[in-house]
Subunit: 364 residues, 2 copies
């Protein structure tokens, strides 16, 4: 038995609980929503993210606390971590919450990244555009995800008033990267410092949301990605799963962002790897030896967004596995995913195409 407290009660917490079943783990989720989908698998404390009484209740029910939602004030995390083992560390959450802090971390560790400038005013923006050039992407420093809180600037007319258009919040301007493709790397670090890194994953986005993730065992940039991951994990004295997103340009990796939690691009590991990201996250925070992360067979993950395809038709495609998060369908909402397993790369491509033809992903 182990008692796990999770800040956040969405699908990431839900799949964490599913991975904890073999450990007879008991979960408590803190989430303000009355329909937190993880609540199916544990106790649900319905309260604000930083509600102190809720934190006390979470701690009272947990041997260790973790996060599937990272946008909670760093001070609240620090206070929580003073009362109970809590991973990942507050510093990692604070860094990931702030794009400027995140980019600065990459730079300080010698990890290449796109051109970037800090933007706290329209004047800063004008200066940054002059330096970086167009096109470029203007992003809020905090609270952006799935393409929200960002704006692509293509020509001079897009620049005028853009600072105000993004709410006069602290921003960063990122140089546009003419990348070959996007990859992510999921890594896990245990309380003892042990690190495991799953194979690099190729990601395809549509309308700013992740559409498809395909692990790429043997990718020529694997060693480089692992090197970068090790640097960040060690610097943050990290515990748990972390996701790293990179742009691939030729034989270089440019760091885009980190997520201090289990990640959508790692869902394929549930069926496709020796140990899933969810199980290894639990092993890490519970101070257990980490599981091996080798891929088992060619596989892919396709997100289900807004509406489910016909379940029978999908399951008639061989090698498919259905993941319904139990969330109310809504345009643009991630409500599930489908894993596709195959015995060869060619067969995998055929099966992905078959599933894609059935998807009715409605981005609203």
């Amino acid at each position: 038995m182990m008692r796990i407290g999770v800040v956040g009660g969405g699908q990431l917490g839900r799949m964490m609980a599913e991975a904890g079943a073999g450990f007879d783990a008991r979960f408590t989720f803190l989430d303000p929503s009355d329909s937190a989908c993880a609540a199916l698998h544990g106790r649900h404390i319905q309260a604000g993210w930083e509600d102190q009484a809720a934190h006390e209740s979470l701690i009272a029910n947990s041997d260790v606390v973790t996060f599937e939602f990272e946008n909670i004030a760093a001070e609240a995390v620090t206070r929580l971590a003073e009362q109970c083992p809590a991973f990942p560390p507050a510093k990692a959450l604070a860094t990931a919450q702030d794009r400027w802090a995140e980019k600065s971390l990459f730079r300080s560790l010698g990890i290449p990244l796109p051109q970037v400038a800090r933007v706290d005013s329209q004047a800063d923006l004008d200066a940054a555009v002059a330096e970086i050039g167009l096109p470029a992407v203007l992003k809020t420093r905090t609270l952006g995800y799935d393409g929200k809180g960002q704006k692509v600037l293509r020509e001079a007319t897009d620049v005028a008033g853009a600072f105000a258009a993004l709410g006069k919040a602290p921003l960063v301007l990122e140089g546009f990267v003419d990348f070959d493709h996007e990859v992510s790397v999921i890594a896990v670090r245990g309380r003892s410092g042990e690190v495991r890194v799953w194979p690099l994953v190729r990601n395809e986005h549509r309308q700013g949301m992740l559409h498809c993730s395909i692990p790429q065992p043997g990718h020529p940039l694997q060693a480089l990605a692992e090197d970068y991951a090790h640097r960040v994990l060690a610097e943050l004295d990290y515990v748990g799963v972390m996701a790293f997103e990179f742009f691939v340009t030729g034989d270089a990796l440019l760091a885009n962002e980190i997520a201090p939690r289990v990640h959508n691009s790692g869902h394929w590991t549930i069926e496709g790897a020796e140990t899933s990201q969810f199980e290894n996250h639990l092993r890490a925070i519970a101070d257990l030896p980490l599981g091996a992360v080798a891929p088992l067979v060619p596989c892919a993950m396709l997100n289900v967004i807004g509406a489910f395809p016909d379940r029978r038709a999908v399951l008639e495609v061989p090698g498919t596995r259905w993941h319904d998060y139990g969330k109310a369908p809504r345009p643009g909402r991630k409500i599930g995913h489908i894993t596709v397993l195959a015995s060869s790369e060619e067969q995998l491509s055929e099966r992905i195409a078959a599933v894609e033809s059935l998807l009715v992903n409605d981005l609203g």
Copy 2:
């Protein structure tokens, strides 16, 4: 979403619920125990197996009802099945509950089996011993499992009074089989008649309880076992997972028994096969297409009986997966299992040996 009612709330129901998570399945378990371990994953109706009000409540909460415990009176199952889709069919449960009916089914389908005689009195027993010879195994026709309700007769003195010693219940006498090893086959049949058969599994028992199961892909008797499985499944118009136990003698298979449910010797499929026995059981009863059943990597399952080994030490053996059923430890009780995955047969043997050296299985 699917609503599943399960008669029985032990580890088989618990793992069924774990497999149902991706379908957003909601489970209700009927079990008289106040500590039914499946209750962690759903609603628990605590009542007798044949309690009519409990059956009504189960049906009200379920789109389909299934069984993880088969020793419930056939009439109760028949009544239940009249009110709600319920699988497997009552006839299959009734057959599996009665060793004589089971052996008669094998015989009627041309499936070889050990010598067997029906024993309803000491006189029957004496006649059966004269015909079959010694050693032989005397078993109750109903309610035997894990070596309970049976007695090995080695010499004439064991025969005298043996009918009374087993409670004067209806019995069968089975000829002793000098087998090479024991195997089981897990098969699943959908509501449409579609059948899938996992690879044959080699089982090792200790003190009458299953100790270890190792799938044997490519076993020379696979086709024969599948043929026998198909005959039984079709005859019973079966829906769901069924386990078949055979003795291997040279190039023959002798049928030992069937279990009309998911089975301990199929637990390796959770990590080791394209689709687990639990998921395919749910797909079958919910009338969804069945998943592929090919094995992914060399693997094995070791039961945890009575007491857990050191968790950290087990997880330090690469490729191990921990399954704690959340049951109170008690001598001779199955409280969990450990799956071992490997990349070669040789590595698998090493890892099995490493885990076995850690087991403290206490058979009381």
